[in-house]
Amino acid sequence: MSAILPPAQRIWWKQPLDKAEGIWILIAFAWCLVMFFMMPYWHVYGKQNLSSETYKTTAEAYGKKVLSFAEQNKVREETDDKIPVIHPPAGADVYLLGRLWAWWPILELETGKTYRLHLSAMDYQHGFSLQPENINIQVLPGYEHVVTITPNRAGTYAIVCNEFCGIGHHKMVSKLYVK
């Protein structure tokens, strides 16, 4: 007469349900449906949905794209490493790459404008983590992910790497400006 013994009736599946169980199953199932429909609902009415637009690429091809993007829109350089700061026009395709152990280049965007942000990694997997906004996206080598972003607050942001990428992982942090 317990869970470590066989059921007391041979035909146990005909035993009627207790009301506490039956009602709970109905409530729980209704809640599960609400949670399920929230996701498609947000795709229609919400403003924060991760794009699935992706292209296969290589480190070489993507690196070239980022370089040419950086040359066209450079406004200044920062830090001892002379990292270019890029101020692209609104609506433009903007490119960012992750490699051991930095994000490159530094982007300078404008509030309320929309950009197509391209992300890819040159070597290992990296994690794009925009702080303090807290938007987190996985970045894979060989895949060029295009995310449409609309910054809604001015400020100096940081892009932290939050996917382990070797011994210098914790030094992989970069800036992003929103004017």
């Binding site: 991760l50 939050n162 914790h170 970069s174």
Partner: protein
């Protein structure tokens, strides 16, 4: 042949142990505790490093320790213990001989070799690749080989379990259907077979890649298949520890399932839908369609979440029914107030249940929601969540079961019962605060697997808010309490095995009894009454917390940058 098998009946519990099964259960349990010990020492070092104010070990060692900690705890401790549970639930509960003990020994040997190889190669600094070993981060071939050997060993164990069910059925060692707990173990076993097959599909090519035979492994393919192994293995834990909850409710209270049909259907839902949850590791990945993410992450409309919510009601519900039958009927909650809170078998199980549901379950569904995942992906929120499921849920449930096994399986009197009484509270509540603080820090953006959130020496800097530091401090203090709880567990179990008073084992003989169906004595219950009102109130409290937390996160999401 069957008659040559030796059985003994434990004079305290009435359980009948087959000698081969008994030895293997003991060995697997001991191997599990050894892994827990190594993983636990590393846990302390990792904790004292992420507690930024202390920052104990250097970066190289930190990442190395984190890799070993993940594997020793999440894979080795738990799967060794699950092997013990599988043999216990088949051979012991069904009063059957263990099928092919030779194969079971071979499986155990392979698992031990795998564990030794993996630990050795990572400690040599050759495979600091984390638990996930995402390609193309390179690990030494021995690392993948060790994992494969361990997995093959575990697979053999699964087939020994299935074989034992066949033997029991053929030799008619039980009447009627298998007990619910064995049914739960069978669920765990079926999920394990799927899990290990997925592991083989990805780890074998990764091994070949590491020796240079295959040129590249696609990182997205790796992630997709690896998580069918990595996440599904956590679903083995869920099925196993839910089975342990039912077992402990039965052992401590003589509780019977409120309805066999409901509980077994819930287990069936696990088999059908739980593995889809692997997808929620890929929600912030490129290259996968939105539809694929939404369908899979919802476990096909949250049917597996439904199953967990059902177990969350039926386990305490069955305890309530059993307690009410004993006369604890005053008000809604006398049954739980008068429960044996000083018995670590019960208190461990109940804290495991509450912690798994409130902390692990709710946070898991939140982070497993397609859009919400972006808020916490790869932050320290993620380990916060799975320490709630795997440490408070699985590990604490297994600890509670150990306290029952010491006198019955190992035939020793438990040393320091006074300390044992406090162990589940120290460990469970310490972990509860620890995981809550981690989730708090993760919500503030603190990354996981990160040695230094001050970014000292980096070309550019970022300063996390003061609250994040506070959270890491709370995590550190609570974590130390939890580690102390872990130390107590190991001291009590190992100490009892070494110095505990020997108890009467019951003689081995070829005599054996058959597992009879219990007589029908309970009437009025399970016949459309409302047998567990107190539990129902708890369930409504749980639902309220769930709904509030879920929508708070949508509110938070609605304030971040527009993304499309």
């Amino acid at each position: 042949m069957a008659n040559a098998a030796l059985f003994r009946t434990c004079p305290r519990s009435g359980l009948q142990f087959h000698r081969s099964a008994e030895t293997l259960i003991k060995l697997n349990a001991v191997a599990a505790v050894v892994c827990l010990l190594v993983g636990g020492i590393l846990a302390l070092l990792i904790l004292l490093t992420r507690w930024q104010a202390i920052h104990l070990v250097n970066a190289e060692n930190f990442y190395m320790y984190l890799t070993v900690h993940g594997l020793d705890m999440l894979a080795f401790w738990i799967i060794f213990f699950e092997m013990a549970i599988l043999y216990f639930c088949s051979s012991t509960l069904l009063k059957s001989r263990l099928a092919t003990p030779g194969w079971a020994w071979a499986g155990f040997a392979l698992m031990v070799i795998g564990v030794v190889l993996v630990n050795a190669i990572v400690f040599m600094g050759e495979a600091t690749v984390m638990f996930t070993s995402y390609v193309p981060l390179p690990g030494h071939p021995v690392f993948y080989l060790g994992l494969i050997l361990f997995a093959v060993g575990a697979l053999i164990g699964c087939f020994v379990f299935l074989g034992t069910l066949v033997v029991a059925k053929a030799e008619k060692t039980y009447e009627g259907s298998i007990p619910l707990v064995t049914f739960g173990a069978l669920t765990a076993c079926i999920i394990a077979v799927f899990t290990i097959a997925s592991g083989a599909i990805i780890l074998i090519p990764t091994f070949l890649w590491s020796v240079g035979y295959i040129k590249t492994i696609d990182p997205l393919m790796y992630r997709t298949i690896w998580w069918a192994f990595g996440h599904s293995s956590q679903q083995i834990n869920v099925s196993a520890h839910v089975a342990v909850w039912y077992a402990i409710a039965a052992i401590v209270f003589g509780a019977k399932p409120m309805s066999e049909r409901v509980s077994r259907t819930a287990f069936l839902l696990y088999i059908l839908f739980l593995q889809l949850a692997s997808a929620h590791h890929l929600l912030s990945d490129p290259g996968l369609s939105t539809e694929w993410k939404v369908f899979n992450t919802s476990y096909a409309m949250y049917l597996a979440v439904l199953a967990s919510m059902v177990h969350g009601l039926t386990v305490p519900g069955s305890i309530e029914v059993a307690q009410r039958a004993k006369g604890y009927t005053k008000g809604l909650f006398e049954w739980i107030r008068k429960a044996p809170w000083g018995n670590p078998v019960f208190s461990g199980m109940f804290i495991s249940l509450i912690g798994f549901g409130f902390l692990g379950g709710i946070s898991g569904v939140m982070m497993g929601t397609e859009q919400l995942n972006m808020l916490i992906h790869n932050t320290i929120y993620v380990p916060g969540h799975f320490h709630a499921t795997v440490v408070i849920g699985t590990t604490l449930a297994f600890m509670a079961l150990t306290y029952f096994l010491i006198p019955t399986l190992f035939n020793r009197e438990m040393i320091n019962p006074g300390l044992a009484k406090w162990q589940p509270y120290l460990f469970g509540l310490g972990m509860a605060v620890f995981v809550t603080a981690m989730m708090g820090a993760g919500t503030l953006g603190v990354p996981r697997r990160h040695w230094d959130i001050t970014f000292a020496g980096a070309a550019q800097a970022y300063e996390f808010p003061g609250t994040a530091w506070l959270m890491l401090g709370i995590m550190g203090v609570a974590g130390v309490f939890a580690v102390l709880g872990g130390v107590l567990y190991i001291y009590i179990t190992v100490g009892s095995l070494l110095w505990g008073k020997r108890l009467d084992t019951g003689a081995y003989s070829t005599q054996r009894s058959v597992l009879r169906m219990p007589a029908m004595v309970m009437t009025g219950h399970g016949t459309a009454g409302f047998a567990a009102p107190g539990t129902f109130v708890f369930a409504m409290v749980f639902l309220t917390a769930f709904v509030l937390y879920y929508f708070v996160n949508w509110k938070y999401l609605s304030t971040v940058w527009g993304l499309s």
